[in-house]
């Protein structure tokens, strides 16, 4: 809110207070996520400012010890598996739902979004109960399946958004020109909705990579992911290695989601799509 050309005293005070309050809120938002970054480069073992010195010893712990390395490997495996399945199936579903004649659209959409609303502990405990019966507990496949349920809504929503700008006549033109549906999907539709698909994939990756509750219930000791290692570490003993792991995870999510949002934003401006 800016001052009007001829501000009254009351207006000055109101707007001054608004700026002050918002400045404090911004500090409240940003300081907590920035704090772990300098602490992770601390050479001492405490969380106290001023830092004792700059070092990368905690990154060496996270990237160099076997426990963390296997956790990072597990996280990447699960996240890539989830991304692959959620993106493929989510894109197919979004295309199907974009057709107004899809039967029961109004029922299917809330059902698809329900994994975002159901408290995650219920999903985790339910998966643990069912997967143990069918032999999927303590398997990578089980964790990937459960993560796919949590991640696919993001893909459906982002791809559906990019499809609202897609001109369906292009598909008819491709069909008239003799292209089979699969070919016209890869040659015509996919290139145009690719930003939406990739941004959905990034959301899916981050959802899986950051997830800890389902993993806590489903993973065996040698399937611990990076967030689960962090969770266990936070419960047991607070070590600066956790701030290094937190910084790495935060960096990865922010980079991926910045890319996802730039893609979405550019996707809305592409030629051949109706904004």
């Amino acid at each position: 809110m800016m001052l009007s050309p001829y501000p009254t005293t009351g207006e000055r005070i109101r707007i001054g207070l608004l700026w002050l309050w918002c400045g404090l809120v911004i500090l409240f938002l940003l300081v907590p996520i920035l704090i772990p970054v300098p602490l992770s480069f601390n050479s001492g073992s405490f969380f106290i400012f001023p830092l004792e010195g700059i070092s990368t010893r905690w990154y060496e712990v996270v990237l160099g010890t076997q426990r963390w390395q296997s956790a990072i490997g597990n996280s990447l495996l699960v996240a890539f598996g989830t991304t692959l399945i959620a993106t493929t199936l989510g894109t197919m579903t979004a295309i199907a739902l974009a057709d107004e004649r899809f039967p029961g659209r109004r029922i299917v959409m809330p059902l698809l979004l329900s994994p975002l609303i159901v408290p995650v502990v219920i999903t985790a405990v339910g998966s643990y109960l069912f997967y143990a019966r069918v032999g999927l507990a303590s398997t990578y496949a089980g964790i990937i399946l459960a993560h796919t349920a949590l991640a696919s809504p993001f893909v459906v929503v982002t791809v559906a958004a990019s499809l609202t700008g897609f001109d369906r006549n292009l598909m008819r033109a491709a069909a008239i020109s003799g292209a089979k549906p699969v070919r016209s999907f890869f040659k015509v539709m996919l290139p145009l909705i690719l930003p939406g698909v990739l941004s959905g994939a990034a959301f899916a990756f981050v959802t899986s990579f950051d997830e800890v509750v389902v993993v806590q219930f489903l993973a065996s000791a040698n399937q611990r992911t990076m967030p689960l290692e962090m969770f266990i570490g936070l419960r047991e003993k607070l070590s600066p290695a956790i701030t290094a792991a937190a910084t790495l995870m935060m960096g990865l999510s922010i980079v991926l989601l910045v890319v996802a949002n730039i893609l979405t934003w550019r996707g809305q401006k592409r030629p051949g799509t109706r904004a």
């Binding site: 207006e11 698809l112 999903t123 339910g126 800890v212 219930f217 962090m230 936070l234």
Partner: protein, 426 residues
């Protein structure tokens, strides 16, 4: 259907008149329907893989879990003869000797099959203290020698106490309301009506109230912090607005676990928050913020702030600033103009943001587990604890059932009055 001018039609066809055209139309619309049916099938087939996968990986697990809240066949399976003997029992006083004999026989069978402990545990969930009594009776039956089983059972006073047999009779019904009632601190009393459990046994209502209180406090705090900032962003020039929005999105994109970890660092006794409070002179002594209710609310407010702010901002963005100017020029004082012109229009956004935050807060698990103390654990933590520590699936299922009912009811209100589109953030 292509229209054919009447002049080109021959006379007999014209004589056939409307009926021919009708047949034509009908066959064309049938063809269209057939084609559309094919399209529908194709789009269903396209959506089917994800729907099937979600049903398997998400739907069935949740239904299975919830069914555990109302279906518990352990006691019925373990005590078949007792169930039989109790079928004619009036429910008051003690059952006849046949029931005692049947119980003795069932207990022996369980010991032989190795299921005695499971039975003891299951009965214990309904009747505190039953575990040791069942195991004791089983041991005595085994070492009884010539002593008649009836006498052995009757010699254990537990089996002649007033509450014991109603609980067993209740347990022989596989479909039960016991756990759902327990989750609300209720139970059936002897004369068949529902009553509150005695205060010393009541736990869950307090936990639900605590969860609602924390959710409400966090919702209010995010609104107080988020509304002015949303207003500032919506009315700031483009470049500044972009910077401010990034400041909101950066924490939004960081995982809950990472933000919780950051707060555990900040809230330490010698952490930054205490340093600042001391420096500002707000407190004289360092506060214990970790493992406290206030620390939990602060951290949850930080995590939820973007969820409340973004829907409010997306509505504020659509309100032209000229409206407020018009209100001022018509003599409206700033507060009146804000209350009568601005607020009614942003209200749907405020509702969406607050409901979303409230719903999400009900399901918090990680943050209370790491930052809350023993008396700050929310309902999700109790569910996790019943599975991980107590191994009482029925109670975990019943608490999940109630939590899910609250969550879905609120989500239903959300979808009904605001529409699902409001769920899209940014």
């Amino acid at each position: 259907m292509t229209a054919i001018p009447p002049s080109e039609l021959d006379r007999p066809a014209l004589a056939r008149g409307r009926s021919a055209a009708d047949t034509d139309l009908r066959s064309v619309s049938a063809a269209i329907r057939r084609a559309e049916f094919g399209d529908r099938l194709r789009s269903l087939a396209l959506a089917a893989p994800l729907l099937v996968l979600l049903a398997l990986s998400f739907g069935i697990p949740i239904v299975l879990l919830l069914s555990r809240a109302v279906y518990d066949p352990t006691i019925a399976n373990a005590l078949p003869q007792t169930s039989q003997a109790l079928s004619g029992w009036s429910g008051s006083g003690l059952p006849d000797d046949a029931a005692f004999l049947a119980l003795a026989a069932d207990l022996k069978d369980n010991q032989a099959k190795g299921t005695a402990y499971e039975l003891a545990k299951s009965l214990n969930a309904r009747l505190p203290g039953a575990r040791s009594q069942v195991l004791k009776t089983v041991r005595q039956l085994e070492g009884a020698g010539d002593k008649p089983p009836l006498e052995v059972v009757k010699s254990v006073p537990f089996w002649s106490q007033p509450g014991t047999w109603p609980a067993i009779a209740n347990g022989t019904h596989a479909v039960t309301s016991f756990y759902l009632l327990s989750a609300l601190d209720l139970r059936w009393n002897a004369d068949g009506s529902i009553e509150r459990v005695p205060p010393e046994q009541a736990i869950f209502l307090q936990v639900f109230m605590r969860t609602f209180f924390v959710a409400a406090a966090v919702t209010l705090a995010t609104l107080l912090l988020g509304f002015p900032l949303a207003y500032l962003i919506a009315s700031a020039p483009k470049g500044l607005a972009a910077i401010l929005i990034v400041a909101v999105l950066l924490p939004f994109w960081t995982s809950i676990l990472v933000r919780t970890a950051a707060w555990t660092v900040l809230l330490q006794k010698f952490g930054l928050v205490n340093d600042m409070l001391l420096w500002l002179g707000v407190v004289d002594d360092r506060l214990d913020l970790m493992y406290s209710r206030i620390g939990l609310i602060i951290a949850m407010t930080h995590i939820q702030l973007p969820f409340t702010l973004l829907p409010i901002y997306s509505v504020m963005r659509t309100i032209p600033p000229s409206q407020m100017k018009a209100a001022y020029s018509l003599g409206g004082r700033p507060f009146t103009a804000f209350r009568r012109i601005y607020l009614p229009q942003v209200f749907p956004g405020v509702m969406a943001g607050c409901l979303l935050t409230f719903i999400l807060c009900l399901g918090y698990y990680i943050t209370p587990a790491l930052i809350g103390g023993a008396s700050d654990q929310l309902i999700s933590n109790f569910i996790g604890n019943y599975v991980n520590v107590e191994l009482n699936w029925e109670m975990a299922a019943a608490l999940s059932f109630i939590l899910l009912v609250f969550t879905l009811a609120l989500f239903g209100i959300f979808a009904r009055i605001l529409g699902l589109d409001r769920l899209k953030l940014v």
